[in-house]
Amino acid sequence: MDAKSDFPLLLRATEGSAAVIIPPHPPLAKGGKWKERHSSLRKGGKWEERHSSLQTEGQEERNIPPFTKRVQVGRNIPPFSKGGSGGIRSHKAVLIGVLSAFILTGQVRSATTANTAVSVSIASFCLVAVTSSSISLTITNPATPGGVPSNANSSSTYAQYSSTVASGVTRRVTAVWATGNSAPTGCELRLTATPGTGQGTSAGQILVSTTAQNIVTGIGGCATGTGATSGAQLGYALNILTMTSLVANESKSATITLTLTDS
């Protein structure tokens, strides 16, 4: 690292998502090192950060004219714990680490640079719930003796969700039941989700299994609402596959997990 690149950098995240990089100092004398002192002052009802820099070369110190940066904050700025280049370098290293993480995960789609400020703001909501935690499906007598009993259906519950996504990103709702769950002998459980307008697209009817399958796709930013009939209507169907396999009074309980996740 050369002298110039060793200029102290300071990233200060403040309330309101502002972040400030203190502008670089004058060139460092050959063989010199930076020593930094910082303080926070309240002036005219606003907070300022005052930066004083020293260059040292051996035992000699050279004062650099102090400069003041007004920062946008809404409340008290904690004073810097220590002056000196070591603390500043730690801040710099942390900044490098944070930026590296964004780059590694590919989440930073564009970079904006300026002399004085970089702002980063990510807000994400991803919440799903159901209007009822319990559903009962029962195969009962057919309408006519000799007839196959009707499939048991339930469409009384809704999946409700709130979602905010980045531009070009969508989410989906998947359904799965726990390992070991099964339908009664001779039956199968199917599920169809029917979302409201702007709440995604139905993925059609699925055969519920231990593998998560999409039931709603293309969910962007939305809030389904919380009314009793708001959201994606969940249509469960207990279908008879083989009449001769049915077992009277057989009862099975299954736990269906609905997950709202990025597509």
Binding site: V98, A101, N141, P149, A183, K252, T257
Partner: protein, 178 residues
């Protein structure tokens, strides 16, 4: 080392921050699925009138009347290792014409629809006509189910009374096998 530590902290912090964009939310529902015990039986209608008619040749025994136009239709679900049966009887006081006997044979389609118990002579005591019925649905078509074959047989030609007519109510019951 100090810088490496700081970079590591920053990376972890950054990953945690980025992780918010891979948000996942879950919820669960408990679905209880049950198959009720089902035991329902019907017949497709009443048999045609059973009449003892004249033989084709004088001296022969009169011809028995018969009907095979009706079916017993049923839907059944049974517990494991259990089965059902169909019994038939007529009411106390019912009787065939003098010198005659009413016979009944049920012919199920097989499989879980059960096994025919052979021909019975109708009495006021319930007798099996189909056994070993398991979970099944015979169907509801015009010829679905166990075919019911009624026969009014002449048991004593000397006891026949010309013009005698009797009506009997036959009751069939689908029930658990003992």
């Amino acid at each position: 080392m100090k810088h490496l530590k700081a970079i590591l902290i920053g990376t972890v912090f950054g990953l945690g921050f980025v992780g918010l964009t891979f948000a996942v939310s879950t919820t669960t529902q408990t679905v209880v699925m049950q198959v009720n015990a089902i035991c329902v039986l019907a017949v497709t209608g009443n048999p045609s009138t059973l009449s003892v008619s004249a033989p084709t040749t004088g001296g022969q025994t009169p011809v028995s009347g018969s009907s095979t136009s009706t079916y017993a239709q049923y839907t059944s679900t049974v517990a494991a290792s259990t089965n059902r049966k169909i019994t038939a009887k007529w009411e106390a006081g019912d009787a065939a014409p003098a010198g005659c006997a009413l016979k009944l044979t049920a012919t199920p389609a097989g499989g879980n629809q059960g096994t025919g118990a052979g021909q019975i002579s109708m009495t006021s005591t319930a007798q099996d006509i189909v056994t070993a019925i398991k979970s099944c649905a015979t169907g509801t078509g015009g010829s679905s189910g166990a075919q019911l074959s009624y026969a009014l047989e002449v048991s004593d030609a000397t006891a026949l009374v010309a013009g005698e007519s009797k009506s009997a109510t036959v009751t069939m019951t689908l029930t658990d096998a003992a």
